[in-house]
């Protein structure tokens, strides 16, 4: 079974530029999560999707961050404009609607550096 896929793996941009990250969850997983992991900290949830609907986006900085999951499969997270403090690893995770829905499986992450 293929795992969660993310691209790109690394991205360097200048502040005020825009950037987008892509995630493809494990096949059949209805729930998709985006986390932000700042160096030296644990991941923090940004947004959660159930199929193509948003379940929780309370910690998403909506003035600059946006995310979509149009067909209930892959998802895109965008930052526009980026700030220095957005430098972090962006992790995507997914979980199954079945018995182990509470177990989340993570992708390799996208490491963003904002200069």
């Amino acid at each position: 079974e293929a795992g969660v896929a993310q691209s790109p793996r690394y991205k360097i941009i200048e502040k005020r530029q825009s950037v987008a990250f892509w995630c493809n969850p494990i096949s059949g997983h209805a729930t998709l999560y985006w986390y932000q992991q700042i160096l030296g900290q644990g991941p923090k949830l940004l947004i959660q999707f159930q199929n193509n609907g948003v379940v929780d986006d309370s910690q998403l900085p909506k003035d600059r961050f946006s995310a979509e999951r149009l067909k209930g499969v892959d998802s895109t997270l965008k930052i526009q404009p980026a700030k220095l403090e957005d430098s972090a690893v962006y992790l995507c995770a997914s979980s199954s609607p079945g018995q182990a829905q509470e177990t989340q499986y993570f992708g390799p992450g996208t490491r963003l550096l904002v200069l």
Partner: protein
């Protein structure tokens, strides 16, 4: 609000020895799940072990086992016969059942296995 505390920022262990990583948490829920995730330098977050709060029996997974003390809100991870591949950041995480399934992570413990 739920919190997860890992009081050991760094630990080291000799190869083949046993090490225990500590985690305490706080939640007002009675139904919740606890996890240990491993994040090697490659950044892929991997599930190590999970524990359902309603189960009294401690979870085990090969060389990994937990000591779950519900009343004390403690959830430690024991790694037996440590191997060089166990070198990684270890994150304790809490998920409150029902609702958004948001994982709350601790700050992590950096484990180094010394040959």
């Amino acid at each position: 609000a739920q919190t997860v505390t890992q009081s050991q920022p760094e630990m080291s262990v000799q190869e083949a020895e046993t090490v225990t990583l500590s985690c305490t948490y706080d939640t007002s829920e009675n139904n919740y799940y606890l996890f240990w995730y491993k994040q090697p330098p490659s950044r892929q977050m991997i599930l190590v072990i999970r524990q359902e709060a309603y189960k009294q029996q401690n979870a085990t997974e090969n060389r990994f086992s937990v000591n779950f003390q519900k009343a004390a809100k403690s959830f430690s991870l024991k790694i037996s016969d440590s191997q060089l591949g166990d070198t990684a950041m270890y994150f304790c995480a809490l998920l409150e059942g029902a609702g958004s399934y948001q994982l709350t992570f601790g700050k992590g413990t950096k484990l180094s296995v010394i040959p």
